[in-house]
């Protein structure tokens, strides 16, 4: 015979439909997001890895001032690599963007055509898909490159620019202002020699090298090239090339982050269920006592009470997965394809994702509830019949200070529902964290851009390929610029650091006291924070192209946020780099300088900074509504379920209070104000913890980035978070007010126990 208790499930569902619906929605949305995300990320990773092989992705690349001699290439290839010419030009387009143009490559870094065709004719070009989307370009449009109109024949993805970083030292990808194009070989070769960057890519002949072997072999190639008198201007392994490796790092942290998100939500919901069950057991204690006295086994009751969370979780898992595989992929694909240049992908059933979104939630749900239930059901049938549910019933009541009756009553309500309120606190903390993360992105980016714009010492900063005198020097100041690397332990990689050699009493760095006699260097505060370096520390830097290392003492920290920069006297830097004492390769200037065109490597203007800001904001702005939405849903669901439990638990006493003559608003003052205080307290108390969490998370995230983004949380954000939290609560409170009004005195009159 079937257990007759089963009939209660449907009745329980009907009686508490709001509560179960809220839990179901929360679990379903979480599981749908999770399964959709995992399916898409697995699909992206698969197609990405396959494409890397099919499109013959390089294992590293290097550039030199001049074309490298065939002898130098042959000597290096003897080490076990194949080297391919991979020249490019950086050209301006009519949409004020920089297009890095390659010839249609056939041996290395092959392009995948996503739409249209490869260029065949002289006036044709194929451009990278994300760049085209960001600049609203389509197949058939005309793009003017270096004053020549070119017809876009296709949109492509290239494996060596899955992330569009123009320079490897940049903090952010920038598909709005930087893109990749391919042209026919003939057109490419018609670019003037001065414009061409002599770039080479290499692949290891042996494909199964370990990471360590790859690094050693790359180092050997570098040494061999230098030995053969190659003047390297750049040498980057695929692992250290952000354009290639960033997506893997990003996805590598996205997936565990999403998994943690899933576990936390399931864990919180499991605790919510255990509190609901606990409350049901309290209400049904005499019934449980009667059933146990009648011969029911504890395991039968345990199975009965655990069935509801199990059914709700199972149903959520089934529907969540169905939504995850049908509606969600579009959202996540847009997220990935809106940030990265990726080959086409297919969403396939992912076994691991299925396991994580079905079996795991059920295991967590059963595990937590099993432990809670075992404790709850461990008392004797007689104790259940007597409603003596706590083992120590003679424990003294907590004596409260001589507060007003209202205050003491509210404290008693909080003590009575401490389990619900603790769970609510954890939930509010989690939701506030998500909310603060989402809301802080825009001000943090704006603050970063503002601070680097404000700290920009000159309107124009020129970096030269070789020393060149300006025709109109004005108040321009010469500097020596170089890049050295330092080992960054947290990310286990070398970090590129800019070195500025400045003259004594520089007018552009008035606050920075640089002396030619100083035995040390000054760090930008961004670098000091990133490396956790302080004055007096010795830091080792390496010239990646010569392998020479330098131990430099930090003698000062200069307020130059965001940038990883070392300041020293020009004389000192020139000595360090072993160049002439009068050597310089850059200018700071407040006016535009006339410099020989072929001597110019880079110009940085304040406009570039605002472009950087635009790009940073566009990369993160899609996160803001998602975080806001998720946080509000968590606030609403948890506040609804957990605070409703407080009212449900006290419904009978609320009914008695009405009998005694209490008005609804007075009852609200007693029961709802206690909850309001807890919600407000949770939001306020959570703020410092959330701030610490955000700081820690950003520091962790910054480890994989080349730059430094200071964590900035403006004060108004705290007020916003509390306001959003409280507004969510007041929505729920509205339902509670109605619920209290609806509690009838009949409940008190019918009470016969």
């Amino acid at each position: 015979m079937k257990n007759p208790l089963r009939k209660r499930y449907i009745r329980d569902l009907k009686a508490n439909k709001g509560r179960y619906l809220a839990i179901f929605l929360m679990l379903t949305v979480t599981i749908a997001l999770m399964s959709g995300f995992l399916a898409v990320s697995a699909g992206v990773q698969k197609s990405f890895q396959e494409n890397r092989i099919e499109s013959k992705l390089e294992d590293g690349s290097f550039s030199s001032k001049d074309e490298i001699t065939p002898e130098a290439i042959t000597e290096s290839e003897k080490l076990g690599v194949s080297i391919y010419e991979n020249d490019y030009v950086n050209e301006q387009t009519n949409s004020e963007t920089t297009l890095r143009i390659y010839e249609n490559r056939e041996q290395i870094n092959l392009a995948t055509v996503m739409e249209g065709n490869s260029p065949i004719k002289d006036n044709e070009i194929a451009v990278e898909r994300l760049f085209a989307t960001s600049n609203k370009l389509s197949v058939g449009d005309t793009l003017t490159v270096n004053d020549t109109p070119m017809k876009i024949t296709g949109l492509i993805a290239v494996p060596d620019y899955s992330s569009l970083f123009q320079n490897n030292s940049e903090l952010m990808m920038d598909s709005f202002h930087f893109g990749i194009g391919i042209m026919t070989k003939d057109v490419f070769q018609s670019f003037p020699e001065n414009n061409i960057i002599h770039n080479y890519s290499y692949t290891f002949n042996q494909r199964d090298l370990s990471e360590k072997e790859k690094r050693t072999l790359s180092d050997d190639i570098k040494v061999s090239l230098v030995k053969n008198e190659t003047q390297l201007t750049n040498f980057t392994t695929a692992e250290n090339n952000q354009s290639i490796s960033f997506i893997e790092d990003d996805m590598g942290s996205d997936v565990p982050m999403m998994k943690v998100f899933l576990y936390i939500i399931i864990g919180i919901m499991a605790f919510v269920f255990s509190i609901i069950i606990g409350s049901t057991i309290e209400a049904e204690a005499p019934i449980i006592g009667t059933l146990l006295a009648s011969g029911y086994k504890k395991i039968e009751l345990m199975t009965h009470y655990i069935a509801m969370p199990l059914m709700v979780t199972l149903l959520s898992a089934v529907i969540g997965n169905a939504i995850g595989y049908t509606l969600m992929p579009g959202l996540f694909k847009e997220m990935y394809y809106g940030s990265y240049s990726l080959p086409p992908m297919e969403v396939k059933l992912n076994f691991e994702a299925l396991l994580l979104t079905t079996v795991l939630p059920i295991v967590i749900m059963i595990g937590i509830n099993f432990v809670a239930l075992r404790r709850k059901l461990s008392i004797s049938p007689l104790n259940f019949l007597r409603r003596e549910l706590k083992k120590k019933t003679n424990r003294k009541a907590i004596k409260l200070p001589d507060f007003s009756f209202l205050t003491r009553f509210r404290i008693r309500v909080i003590i009575q529902n401490i389990g619900s309120y603790i769970t609510l606190f954890v939930g509010v903390l989690f939701a506030s964290f998500i909310l603060m993360f989402g809301l802080s992105l825009t001000p943090m980016m704006n603050h970063y851009v503002d601070s680097i714009t404000q700290s920009a010492v000159a309107d124009y900063q020129y970096i030269l390929k070789a020393p060149a005198e300006a025709e109109n020097p004005g108040n321009a100041e010469k500097l020596t610029f170089s890049s050295l690397e330092t080992y960054y332990t947290p990310a286990n990689k070398n970090l590129e650091v800019s070195f500025y050699g400045l003259r004594e009493n520089s007018v552009y760095f008035k606050e920075l006291k640089i002396s030619d006699d100083e035995k040390g260097v000054t760090f930008s505060d961004g670098l000091a924070k990133k490396l956790k370096a302080k004055v007096g520390d010795m830091v080792t830097f390496v010239n990646p192209y010569t392998d020479k290392s330098y131990d430099l003492k930090v003698i000062g920290i200069y307020d130059y946020p965001g940038a990883l920069t070392v300041f020293m006297s020009q004389k000192q830097l020139n000595t360090l780099l072993n160049v002439d004492s009068n050597y310089f390769n850059g200018y700071f200037s407040d006016t535009e300088l006339n410099l020989p065109e072929n001597s110019l490597a880079t110009v940085i203007t304040p406009e570039d900074m605002s472009q950087l800001g635009d790009q940073m904001l566009s990369s993160f702005e899609q996160m803001v509504p998602i975080c806001l939405g998720v946080a509000i849903v968590i606030y609403l669901v948890l506040m609804y379920i957990l605070t409703k439990l407080v009212i449900d638990k006290n419904a009978l006493y609320i009914s008695f209070m009405k009998v005694f003559g209490y008005e609804t608003k007075e009852i609200r003052k007693l029961y709802l104000t206690a909850t309001t205080m807890v919600v407000l307290g949770s939001l306020l108390l959570g703020l410092p913890l959330v701030t610490l969490g955000i700081q820690g998370s950003f520091e962790l995230a910054m480890m994989k980035l080349s730059g430094y983004l200071p964590v900035y949380i403006p004060m108004y954000l705290y007020a916003e978070i509390v306001a959003i939290g409280m507004m969510s609560y007041f929505v729920i409170n509205f339902f509670h007010i109605r619920r209290i009004s609806k509690i009838e005195m009949a409940a008190a009159l019918k009470n016969k126990e």
């Binding site: 409603r387 003596e388 019933t393 003679n394 003294k396 009541a397 004596k399 009756f405 209202l406 003491r408 009553f409 008693r412 309500v413 003590i415 009575q416 006290n650 009978l652 006493y653 008695f656 209070m657 009405k658 009998v659 005694f660 003559g661 209490y662 008005e663 005195m745 008190a748 009159l749 009470n751 016969k752 126990e753």
Partner: protein
Amino acid sequence: MVNKNEMVRMFFSVKGLDKSYGNGSAKVKVLDGVSTDLEEGKICVILGPSGSGKSTFLNVVGGLESIDSGSICVDGQELSKLDAKSLGQYRRNKLGFVFQFYNLIPNLTAKENIEVCEYLSKNPLPIDELLHTLGIWEHKDKFPNQLSGGQQQRCAIGRALVKNPALLLCDEPTGALDYKTSKEILSLIEKINQTYNNTILIVTHNEAIKHMAHRVLKLHDGRILTDSVNENPVAAKDLEW
């Protein structure tokens, strides 16, 4: 104490009280033309078997249930004309309730349970004095589940009394208690009546309790079977059953 020379007045009177539950063939008449009255400061015991309408009568006098027809006047107020809010005020200002199963709020101490109703009153009785009168002073900081049945009922009486209500409604106040404790509780009710001159309505199955009352109503099938005056009530401590 009541001044015996003072003129007694009717505290409540009901006339032709009808009350039914359900509709059509399922309609059950629980009060059928009930008419009676009671003087101020008297104890009235209402007896009758289950389903006789005694609890419904108590609820109607308590302003907890509406009537189909008739009139019910308590302390000069016609209850059938009051809206829900005014009935709430009526209960708040004039009534005290004592239930069979005490119905104390489990997460409040004994004293705090009494304070629940103290909060409603503009002129409450001194709570510490009341705790002494009730004999639960030493248990004031205990939760209900740490008190015996008798102590819980004393606490419930204290909660009803703290407002110093004009009318105390007791629904089977000894129904869940043993003989000795029941007598103690009845003595307490008697003492309260003598001390505060409250009018008290006691609904009970226990025939013996009628001997301590000034007035005894017997209900059957919603009608008053007998309505008698007891000129010489017996002290509660002398009741036997």
